[in-house]
Subunit: 182 residues, 4 copies
DNA sequence: TATGAATGAGCGTTCATTCAT
DNA sequence: TATGAATGAACGCTCATTCAT
């Protein structure tokens, strides 16, 4: 039965990610319906709606953290940094609420999410530091504003629709600003 | 009696701007209370909650449009452009939901808001065009990505808290990206 | 409209008295249905279920207090005391939950009910004191145990069904205990 | 395996007595947790919650019956009667819900409980008859009102808090009523 | 026209009971 | 047989909207 339960937990999380991706105001019932389980099952796995939201958020932040760590482990520092940046913005564009997750990473939504947010920010900070040391990102840029740009670009990409060319041109401008001044 | 009605409309709109600025999830009752009118009066002026939200949005977009037009009418084109950009981001930081309004300007929230959004974007486009002609903004940047950057910067400033220094450094990076390449 | 509202409030209270008289575990919906109003109307008048229960309780305690005061104002002290005692027990028998109200009178169910309970107990205390002074009730009985007997008799009458003759014989035994020893 | 099952049954009953003694509104889950078994095990032994409640009630009534029988078998009839009366009231005060059990004994809660209630009442009737024959209780008191007084005193003791001195004085008054008139 | 009372659909959550292991 | 997961009906409560004054 543990296998069943784990299965259901996964399905609920997946459903929640989709549903809350569309709108944070969605109801727990919607999640249950999409997951194909009864509503009480959702509450068995996540005792309150807030905890469910937090679990989704945590998952996203962990995925981002993992991606950052993978990229940090290998390859050219500059490529790794810009690659991660673009990837985050791209996913935000298609998944809508990931940007909200990024924004929430700094605030206070429960211990797990806070921890995951912290780790993600640390991994991104590492990426940035290495890119700066290698000369791919201007040395005078501090973490705070680079992170703000990451969040902003994600939201900007989401908000204005998903034209891929526009998004790439937006990033091109942004990256020009991030590269060292000659 | 028409003066009375217009008065009430104003007060409701002002109250709504404040209330929804704090939280989009606020209730219509809260608006009525802050405006000092009965709830039925709110619904007489704005038959649905969506229409009330739209009216607030429209108001904000019109203000932005007016600001853009004023700046376009006088002074150095580059200064006008960057001034407007900074001002929008600053207000987004303090008023929280204006970014949502900006984002929504492109989508489909009723005729009035769409119209106001269009006019605001045209006024901002004018500002951009003049700044490009004067050499203050790179010529190869198209409206779409610059607008996306405006929206993104507003949201980024809102999401990550309102540290003024960080916000300014973020904008400095962004403006470096927007200036012509040497 | 105030007349309408007051009317509804009355009807809700009456319905609640009946419904909760049968079972404290009854739902707020049941009250609304019996009162013939929508459920939101119940909550408009009594913001929480506890407040509704408290209002019913307060009403009952006030009625009891008024009865005690009326009886204290006129007639033979002994008659007044035993009359009140019998009346309370009789009503408890027919209305079931009034005994619970009596029991709760000493505990802590909100300010209004506590106040009403206090006043009722004071009025009953007055009745007792006068009866003792007149020699109709033994002088060595203290308020606490007499009140406990009142509560107990009410509950006993309720619990064992409502046979009137049994109830009267039960009270006769009890009154024999309360009268001065020869 | 039958020994296991009987063991579990006992533990569940013990847990249920404790849990429902504290609050009738307690959940079946609470019982299972305190008993240290899964919830399904509770339902295997007691197919519905009502049946579980009835089993607890039956147990209590049987204990009362046994006490009455023991007291009837030996010693002074008057002492036995008043001893039993006081003991029931004392336990009601400390165990809260036993009064409800007593009250329910007359009503219609399933065959087992009805039978146990009947037997308890018969044993108490025996106690009463012997006390009356010995002159310790007035001869004109009939079973019905004496039983009502037992129930009432139990509830009264429970409801008004458990001050031991008050309880004893209350019983003293009551016993004065029950003793033969000189 | 302005008001506040009334409404019911919907929300988050709990719980007795059933099912699958 | 014992378990814990799954279920859906029900609860207390809120809110956008309508009605009656």
């Amino acid at each position: 039965m543990r296998a069943d339960a784990r299965d259901n937990r996964e399905r609920i999380l997946t459903a929640a990610e989709q549903v809350f991706g569309r709108s944070t105001a969605a109801s727990t019932d919607d999640v249950a319906k999409l997951a194909g389980v009864g509503i009480a099952t959702v509450f068995r796995h996540f005792p309150t709606k807030v905890e469910l939201l937090e679990a989704v958020l945590t998952l996203r932040l962990q995925r981002l953290r993992d991606t950052a760590r993978e990229l940090a482990g290998a390859g050219d520092p500059g490529t790794a940094f810009y690659e991660f940046f673009s990837q985050v913005v791209a996913e935000a564009g298609s998944k809508l609420a990931i940007a909200e997750a990024l924004g929430a990473a700094g605030s206070a939504p429960g211990e797990h999410a806070r921890q995951a947010g912290l780790e993600m920010r640390q991994a991104f900070g590492e990426l940035l530091a290495r890119a700066q040391r290698s000369g791919a990102v201007r040395a005078d840029a501090q973490f705070a504003e680079v992170y703000a740009l990451l969040v902003g670009a994600s939201r900007g990409a989401t908000a204005t629709g998903l034209d891929l060319e526009v998004r790439d041109r937006m990033l091109a401008v942004l990256y020009d600003g991030l590269r060292p001044r000659r």
